[in-house]
């Protein structure tokens, strides 16, 4: 039997009047995966998430959660989803445990299991000992965020959707939330969006990059690296000129493209290179640059492009594509005299 993907989205489009928030968005998320949703502001991340959680309806297209259509059976879908909205709204004048019990009841947890369920999620989110009876309005941002995640976990959902769970947190708190998400790995399907790219890279199995309402890339960060920034990259520092270095590399038969060259103090030049080749490229570069007396290699480091660069490359490419597609002319900067 083929397993049903946790989330399947096909050609989802949502328009707000004349503005198209998302257009033909399609993706699937498998059971137990942690997927990161990336995109600049206004790209349509929140819209997609809101449609998935059944708050908002799509203009066209369909979405399924656990094989159930969101449009046809939103009630059932809501039972299977834990959703934490952007900015994590919470009522300020309730106690943590009261709020979670209220939410658990709403999500259909029966009276007998209520205490145990709430206790469980508070343990998972590290709220049980520290913040159990605190009033939500007095909690720090990190704790509020945990309350939001605890709420999303209530009622045993199979999919958890979190809109920017780490926004506005300090590094310690971010680490805490990351540990929390790691704890969920394998048990649940998690979809989260974030601006903080290293975050996504560390905690997610797969990344979906969305820009201007379209999915521009999707895959693991290494596959995205292949697609958007192919080739091996090196950072090196040499004593000598750029032309001489290029000459030496050519003589050794290494096809390399110098992406960036910066003059540092003295005679030292730092270069970033992109070269085609296999794992032996490093030693070859060292060999090529160490033979000539007028060009000395000072340091060499392979550089793995991080998600930030992939993100920039992917969103830039989609930007260029949309400019070529039928769009009004680029606005000329207005001059005010």
């Amino acid at each position: 039997m083929e397993t049903i993907p946790s989330i399947r989205v096909e050609n989802l489009t949502r328009q707000y009047g004349a503005i198209t928030a998302i257009q033909n968005v399609s993706f699937t998320v498998n059971r137990g995966e942690i997927v990161g949703f990336l995109g600049p502001n206004g790209a349509g991340k929140s819209t997609t998430m809101r449609i998935l959680s059944g708050i908002m309806s799509a203009t066209s297209g369909s979405a399924w959660v656990g094989g159930i259509s969101v449009a046809q059976n939103p009630h059932e879908v809501k039972r299977r989803i834990g959703y934490m909205p952007e900015n994590n709204p919470l009522p300020d004048d309730m106690r943590v445990v009261e709020y979670l019990r209220f939410r658990a009841r709403l999500k259909g947890v029966s009276g007998r299991k209520l205490r145990a369920t709430v206790q469980d999620v508070m343990e998972v989110c590290d709220l049980a000992r520290t913040a159990r009876r605190k009033i939500i309005g007095t909690l720090s941002k990190g704790f509020r965020q945990r309350v939001g995640i605890a709420d999303a976990l209530l009622g045993n959902p199979e999919v958890i959707i979190m809109d920017e769970p780490t926004i506005g947190l300090d590094p310690h708190q971010i680490q805490g939330i990351r540990r929390l998400i790691n704890n969920l790995r394998g048990r649940l399907t998690v979809v989260l969006s974030s601006h903080i790219l290293p975050e996504i890279e560390r905690s997610c199995d797969r990344v979906i990059i969305i820009n201007r309402g379209r999915v521009v890339a999707s895959g693991t960060s290494s596959s995205l690296r292949e697609e958007f920034l192919p080739g091996n990259r090196f950072e090196l520092e040499i004593e000598g000129s750029q032309d001489r270095a290029a000459e030496l590399l050519k003589a050794k038969g290494i096809t390399a493209e110098i992406l960036e060259a910066r003059e540092q103090d003295g005679n030292i030049l730092s270069l970033s290179l992109r070269a085609e080749g296999n794992g032996e490229l490093g030693p070859q570069l060292i060999a090529a640059l160490s033979e000539s007396p007028d060009c000395t290699l000072r340091s060499l480091a392979p550089r793995v492009p991080n998600l930030e660069e992939i993100f920039l490359a992917a969103t830039k490419r989609s930007w260029e594509e949309t400019i070529e597609s039928p769009k009004p002319k680029q606005p000329t900067p207005a001059k005010s005299e």
Binding site: H75, N87, L106
Partner: protein, 254 residues
């Protein structure tokens, strides 16, 4: 339905723990107590043929104008502006249950406030037992009739506030909208009645409609013990319509 009770319980609990509730209740009771006292004083000076409780209930519109907006403006607009309406929508709760729980919570509190005003005649009667007999302070019939009117008219007034609260994000706008609508409904109906009486040249059916909207006339009938089904239908059907519209608005403006 299960969720409705959970939400209602939550709603009442939130009302009980929030200080504005008590402030509103104290202000309401102070004002109403003062008005009751003024009515009694007036009666001492010039004898009147209506009972004090009837006179007291005939100024029901003063507290309605400020209590109903205060009670309802927060209900949906407040939740929407802090975003908890969204989190509510992600639970398997029907929107009608959300609106109904808001209505029931506000309505319960509204009626509790009114029932508390029964303390005034009771206090007067215990302090001045002789006046209670001659003045008819605790006459049951007008009290039952008057409170039946308040209970039924509340079915219209509270939904006006709930609906106003559902269409906006700002509590202030919701409150003002509620106030103006209540003003039009209560005073406007009265004025239309005056026009039709002084002009006297209205068509038959318009006259009927105008009579239908006479809220003060309804109160009069109820306190005399005439329980008419027409006002009952007017209040409940319009109230239900407004609550239905509020549900649709929440659904559309999620």
């Amino acid at each position: 339905m299960r969720n409705f009770f959970i939400l209602l319980k939550h709603e009442l609990r939130m009302l009980l723990i929030s200080p504005p509730t008590y402030i509103a209740a104290v202000l309401f009771l102070c004002l109403m107590g003062f008005l009751y006292w003024a009515i009694l004083r007036g009666m001492v000076n010039t004898p009147e043929d209506t009972l004090p409780i009837v006179q007291f209930l005939s100024i029901f519109w003063i507290p309605v104008f400020f209590v109903v907006p205060l009670l309802t403006m927060r209900s949906i607009a407040g939740e929407r502006s802090i975003g908890t309406l969204d989190t509510l929508m992600t639970t398997p709760t029907s929107r009608i249950a959300v609106v109904l729980s808001k209505f029931s919570g506000a309505y319960t509190f509204y009626m509790l406030l009114w029932l508390a005003t029964l303390g005034f005649p009771w206090i007067t009667a215990t302090l001045f037992p002789s006046a209670a007999i001659t003045g008819g302070l605790m006459e049951p019939a007008p009290i039952i009739g008057g409170f039946a009117f308040l209970a039924i008219s509340g079915i219209l007034f509270v939904p006006i506030g709930i609906f106003a609260s559902s269409i906006t994000r700002s509590q202030l706008v919701a409150g003002m909208l509620t106030f103006t609508t209540l003003f039009v409904v209560i005073i406007g109906g009265q004025q239309l009645g005056n026009i039709s009486q002084s002009g006297g040249n209205l068509n038959g059916w318009i006259d009927g409609v105008v009579n239908y909207l006479q809220i003060f006339q309804h109160l009069d009938d109820f306190s005399r013990g005439i329980i008419d089904t027409r006002p009952f239908f007017y209040y409940t059907s319009t109230g239900a319509l407004l609550l239905g519209l509020a549900t649709l608005v929440i659904e559309a403006k999620a």
